[in-house]
């Protein structure tokens, strides 16, 4: 009997239930953490049930199945990717708020156990990178890129469905881990030997390996699909140097996915062999070498950050041009800069572990390579500013995100240059300074880009505009919340507070952690504003309808304007196809 159970459930036992430990140990700490974990698990179960009830009540199962889940249409698949991203974004923001709350009261303790805190920062990072950022940008590219190049669909629509399924399965695993068994506590990087069987015998790391591997395979296939589509399915006359900039960045991202994702497949695959078949790739004994994992992980990890940031660069290029009423400044230079960034991104991975034992010469080489990336990025920033210069600027919601991005992203870039100096990095590596830096790149960079794109292209997808008042509120909450939550972390990092600390004993940290906690609450408000914006927009969709008496649908300022800006005049029939 127990054999049969263990062959089905493996490392899962009764203690996998989040309230199990609470029933046996009644200390206040266990109770609080048990209640939080049970509440989270309850939200997952209730959320799933609510979705099932809602679809049944509306009688939409058949519609959902045949029109969406089994649809090979790139537009619908793109939207489904974005839905996954938004659900996961909500969860990961709530986790972030719990972490900030813990550190705000974390002087000499706090309310979370170290285990629970470890799970929170692991799931938060894993979700934000693999199940928020990746599906979000994949969804936007899926939707927009074929329209921009005049293709009917991606080259391999069924492969696209497979990619969606793999990402959905990975996201589902992360969700299930809230209900059954704890998740990994190894951080989003999952460094061995901590994640090896000898230190982590539970199911947590296995959840992480499977979820991440599924997501990685999904992204590899997506990259192949995007690249082939851009190379082979462009409409006649759409020469490479007439492609809209967003498509250019999509191409570079696709190339990075093709070459940057396999290293992670190798890393997690070998870690799985270590755990399941008693290999010794990364163990501390019998000739294993954990540095191989670190190198493999960041051989993926650094291209990954450019996979995340290039599509937003493309989006902002479109947004700045559209809402400045001008053509983009320096189209060709922007393309070249994008390509430079894509190539350089493979040459800097070692800066993620300057302190892990290389010689000073190697560190210097990688530090210089890292700083070089600042040049093409700087070129881009100037091009965007010159696009706005003397333009007829309209401060629409996408533009607010774009301006927030350009100010904050430059600050993040500056702190990146600081971190790229190995001697400085020795002082502040693994501190909250680093956490502040990469959030400074990813929130104003990636997330603002995605939200800007959602506001920009939403009417294209659904035929009505997103409501603007809540849109502005969300945008300003994001900008202010980001600054409040992460600027204090720079200070804390310089004061020496390590990242991932569940508690601390320095009273000087306190004002800053409290300020960061308030920032997290403002970000939570931003999330609520986004939800309200969506709700209000759907409620008032008839008032915001964009189909007003134009025989071509609507004068699609974003798309047609950009095509014209790139020198492309689509013939009537092809233009009709786009609507």
């Amino acid at each position: 009997m127990s054999d049969a159970m263990s062959s089905i459930f493996g490392r899962l036992g009764w203690d996998a239930l989040p309230f199990w430990s609470m029933l046996h140990d009644h200390s206040p700490m266990t109770l609080i953490n048990g209640v939080i974990a049970t509440g989270a698990a309850g939200m997952v179960v209730l959320g799933a049930l609510a979705a099932i009830v809602l679809v049944s009540w509306l009688g939409k199962w058949k519609y959902l199945w045949s029109e969406w889940l089994t649809s090979p249409d790139h537009k619908k698949i793109g939207i489904m990717f974005i839905v996954i991203a938004l659900v996961m974004l909500a969860r990961a923001i709530i986790e972030a708020v719990f972490m900030r709350a813990q550190q705000a009261v974390g002087l000499d303790g706090g309310f979370l156990t170290a285990e629970h805190f470890g799970e929170l920062f692991t799931t938060h990072g894993t979700i934000m990178v693999f199940f928020m950022a990746m599906p979000f940008l994949t969804g936007i590219i899926n939707y927009v890129m074929p329209l921009q190049i005049g293709a009917r669909d991606l080259s391999f629509p069924v492969l696209n469905q497979v990619s969606l399924g793999l990402t959905a399965a990975g996201a589902a695993l992360v969700m299930i881990s809230l209900v059954l068994a704890p998740f990994s506590t190894g951080g989003w990087t999952g460094y061995p030997p901590f994640t090896e069987l000898s230190y982590n015998p539970g199911a947590g790391v296995d959840y992480w390996i499977w979820a991440v591997t599924l997501s990685t395979l999904s992204s590899t296939l997506t990259g192949i699909n995007f690249a082939v589509t851009i190379f082979k399915k462009r409409a006649p006359g759409m020469k490479l140097f007439r492609m809209p900039l967003f498509t250019w960045t999509a191409l570079c991202t696709a190339i990075l996915m093709i070459f940057g994702m396999p290293p992670l497949t190798v890393a997690t695959g070998l870690l799985a062999l270590d755990r399941y078949l008693d290999f010794h790739m990364f163990t501390t004994d019998l000739g294993g070498n954990m540095m191989n994992y670190v190198n493999l992980f960041w051989a993926f990890g650094h291209p990954e950050v450019y996979i995340l940031i290039l599509p937003p660069f493309g989006i902002f290029s479109e947004v700045f041009a559209t809402f400045s009423g001008k053509r983009i400044y320096g189209y060709k230079i922007l393309v070249i800069a994008t390509m430079c960034i894509a190539v350089l991104s493979f040459t800097v991975w070692l800066h993620h572990f300057f302190t892990m034992g290389q010689s000073a010469h190697i560190n210097a080489a990688f530090g210089i390579a890292t700083m070089l990336i600042g040049i093409p990025t700087g070129v881009k920033v100037y091009d965007w500013m010159l696009t706005m210069y003397r333009g007829r600027i309209r401060l629409s919601v996408p533009m607010v995100y774009a301006i927030g991005f350009i100010m904050l992203f430059v600050l993040g870039g500056m702190t990146g240059i600081i971190l790229a100096t190995p001697s400085v990095d020795y002082q502040i590596h693994n501190s909250l300074f680093l956490v502040a830096h990469f959030h400074n790149m990813l929130i104003p960079g990636l997330l603002f880009g995605m939200l800007s794109a959602t506001n920009f292209w939403f009417p294209k997808a659904f035929g009505f505009r997103l409501e603007e008042r809540w849109g502005y509120r969300a945008a300003f909450c994001w900008i202010i919340g980001f600054m409040l939550a992460f600027f204090p972390l720079y200070v804390l990092g310089l004061m020496g507070m390590p990242r991932r600390s569940v508690a601390y004993f320095e009273p000087q940290y306190l004002p800053w952690t409290i300020m960061a906690g308030i920032g997290a609450l403002v970000i939570l408000c931003a999330l609520l504003c986004l939800l309200l914006q969506l709700w209000v927009s759907i409620r008032d969709r008839h008032a915001n309808n964009v189909f007003v008496g134009d025989p071509l649908g609507w004068p699609d300022a974003g798309m047609v304007g950009l095509l014209t800006a790139a020198g492309i005049q689509l013939p009537g029939a092809a233009r009709d196809l786009q609507h």
């Binding site: 080259s155 391999f156 590899t220 990259g223 192949i224 699909n225 690249a227 082939v228 190379f231 082979k232 399915k233 006649p236 006359g237 140097f241 007439r242 093709i258 070459f259 994702m261 396999p262 290293p263 497949t265 190798v266 695959g269 070998l270 062999l273 270590d274 078949l277 008693d278 290999f279 010794h280 790739m281 163990t283 004994d285 019998l286 000739g287 294993g288 070498n289 191989n292 493999l296 051989a299 053509r327 189209y331 060709k332 800006a565 790139a566 020198g567 492309i568 005049q569 013939p571």
Partner: protein
């Protein structure tokens, strides 16, 4: 850039086909329809191969860094046999040649007999390769060369059997293609299938040459 000019759209099908022709085996005029459909699919498969090559490249690199990690266990000189590695190499090289003959039969012959003949010979050579490889692993296991013994052996068993798995997959694909050939005849999907499998087969041959040179010759020298 003169982007404001309206570009007149001309679409000359034959010119485009000439321009977009990719390097590799082109099917020729007898296969007009496949000539067009194969383009995207075969290109996609090339891209997939590039991605797969990264995986092998990283495993080769990892293997080299783990050479010293024998932890007192058996190393290359105790575990490898040149004779059997050489036989495997010859089998795989021969199978690449016979697949080449199959591709030529696909391009120039109307009848299917030669194509099927060369494909079956390729399959047999592939299976023979797998047989010898498994025999090698068996001998290694008998001599204490198991992956749990040391980091070096873990690296070996993450690299070489992955190639073997690929060959197994390619053999299964070949059997499926032969089945499709029998049921559907030489239609477009079967033709592009053979083209893609040919790419995979030669790719695996190249990877094996890397394994033979680096793992076996390097290990025994």
């Amino acid at each position: 850039m003169s982007q404001n000019n309206v570009i007149p759209i001309e679409h000359n099908a034959t010119q485009d086909a000439q321009k977009t022709r990719h390097p590799g085996l082109n099917l020729g005029p007898a296969h007009a329809h496949e000539e067009d459909t194969r383009e995207e699919m075969v290109f996609g498969f090339w891209v997939f191969m590039m991605s797969d090559l990264i995986i092998f490249g990283l495993l080769f690199a990892t293997y080299v860094t783990m050479l010293g990690g024998t932890a007192g266990g058996p190393g290359p000189s105790e575990l490898f046999e040149m004779k059997s590695a050489f036989i495997e190499t010859m089998l795989l090289l021969a199978s690449s040649f016979t697949f080449g003959m199959a591709s030529l039969a696909l391009k120039y012959r109307e009848d299917r007999t030669r194509l099927v003949f060369w494909l079956v010979v390729t399959l047999l050579l592939g299976v023979a390769f797998l047989f010898f490889e498994l025999k090698d692993f068996h001998t290694m296991f008998d001599n204490g060369g198991v992956p749990s013994r040391s980091g070096y052996l873990s690296a070996f068993f993450s690299l070489v059997p992955l190639h073997g798995l690929h060959v197994t997959g390619a053999c299964i694909w070949l059997v499926a293609l032969l089945g499709q050939l029998a049921v559907y005849g030489l239609d477009a999907p079967v033709k592009t299938g053979i083209l893609r499998l040919a790419i995979l087969w030669h790719f695996l041959d190249i990877v094996w040459i890397g394994i033979f040179s680096l793992v076996y010759l390097g290990g025994l020298s």
